[in-house]
Symmetry: C2
Subunit: 248 residues, 2 copies
């Protein structure tokens, strides 16, 4: 935990918060913080700040919170991902929020098994905890929006333009692509980007047509075929890390 | 498995190989290959080619192998990684070989727990199987060299120049860095690159001095603090994916 996330409803009127459970355990056992110690804190979806330990007793830690005025910017990249196996998705949540994603759209596809949608890893309580874990790791406060899509075609045809700006850049990695990712990004820099990542086995030709009709530009990410989780982290890094696209 | 890796000692004098176990199971149950079907194959550390199924019976698959003359290039990036927790390292092996790494050096550091070195995930049989899994995923044949270093200081001072060219680019990601990664890479493109990734909690100032004395350039990978496994995949992607450094 490089940042302790506080829910907006937690601080009392004097700006104090009484933590229990995992966060209190981390502060006492890992950070070994004693009264007077300052810790980096952040309001979920709000500003970061400084929490001063006032007391630690039993399983409880009381922090006096001071928050900055500035709220971290919402990450500029959205991810549209064909739902991977629950075991993979379970591990991916925290990695995605750590890398910084504005919105995570998990979708069905021809090569996605229907039973994946019944998994507990898609329950809001489960994934919100994992996403907050990633925020606390990375030092961010902006919780990604999550949307679960069971039918790709009507979503792309009827819904997508409503949630993603038509001026934004829509990218899809596929071996059939002929351009590279940065050729597409050089055109216009500070726009929202939506990256689509396919299932193991890839999108079908029909699905690729649906994406192309929805304005997605298909780029080639090289000859190596990566597993979904590796591909997500790899491609998002190219878009989000400052050594990547920002410097172009 | 997007490529079936064959060990150089496996084919007989007629170029036939009789597979059992995991590869035969994959060919029969996942690829559902029948006699006459062509599969992508690769000789470990050698060329790729085409394997024609001659027979499938019981748990056995006989392939007639034809290999190209050309051997895939050894990946141009090496990774020097402070040994992470065994659970993390276990998952990382296949991801590293899938992304393409020439050499993996796992090292001790102040913030690495000594007991990690006793884990079975550092046994050659264990990690070679995982590395081959990553090669079969990515379609590569070049097995990374693996070196385990228990003392960082003598390794950097006495050994490193012997295994990594002094003309190569040595990079280390740390929040103290002031340049960005690509500034360093723009200087000279087709050279070997060694990327150093620290432990959770980072390298100590003393360790950073050792790296600097060994010619490592310290760059800043942005404000987000990533977990070791995410950081490895993220930073290696910037160096290895064609949408990354190749296009600079």
């Amino acid at each position: 935990m490089n940042l302790i996330i506080i829910h907006p409803c937690e601080p009392d009127s004097s700006g104090r918060v009484c933590l229990t459970g995992e966060r209190a355990g981390h502060i006492q056992n890992v950070l070994k913080a004693v009264p007077g110690k300052s810790l980096r804190i952040g309001l979920l979806n709000g500003s970061t700040g400084c929490g001063t330990v006032e007391s630690t007793a039993g399983g409880e830690v009381v922090l006096r919170c001071e928050f900055d005025k500035k709220i971290p910017a919402r990450p500029a990249v959205d991810l549209l991902l064909a739902l991977p196996r629950p075991k993979v998705m379970k591990r991916l949540w925290a990695q995605l929020s750590a890398l910084g994603v504005g919105r995570i759209i998990l979708t069905n596809a021809e090569k996605v098994e229907r039973c994946y949608f019944d998994s507990h890893v898609l329950e809001p309580d489960f994934y919100t905890a994992r996403l907050i874990e990633g925020l606390q790791q990375a030092g961010d406060t902006r919780l990604p929006d999550v949307q679960i899509v069971r039918q790709l075609k009507p979503f792309l045809e009827d819904e997508f333009d409503g949630i993603f700006p038509t001026s934004g850049i829509r990218l899809l990695a596929d071996p059939s692509g002929t351009c590279n990712m940065f050729q597409r990004l050089e055109v216009a820099a500070p726009q929202r980007i939506c990256l689509a990542v396919g299932p193991e086995g890839g999108w079908t030709p029909y699905e690729l047509e649906l994406f192309a009709a929805c304005g997605f530009q298909i780029f080639n990410a090289g000859p190596r075929i990566l597993r979904t989780d590796t591909a997500c982290v790899a491609l998002l890094s190219l878009l989000t890390l400052p050594s990547g696209s920002d410097e172009k």
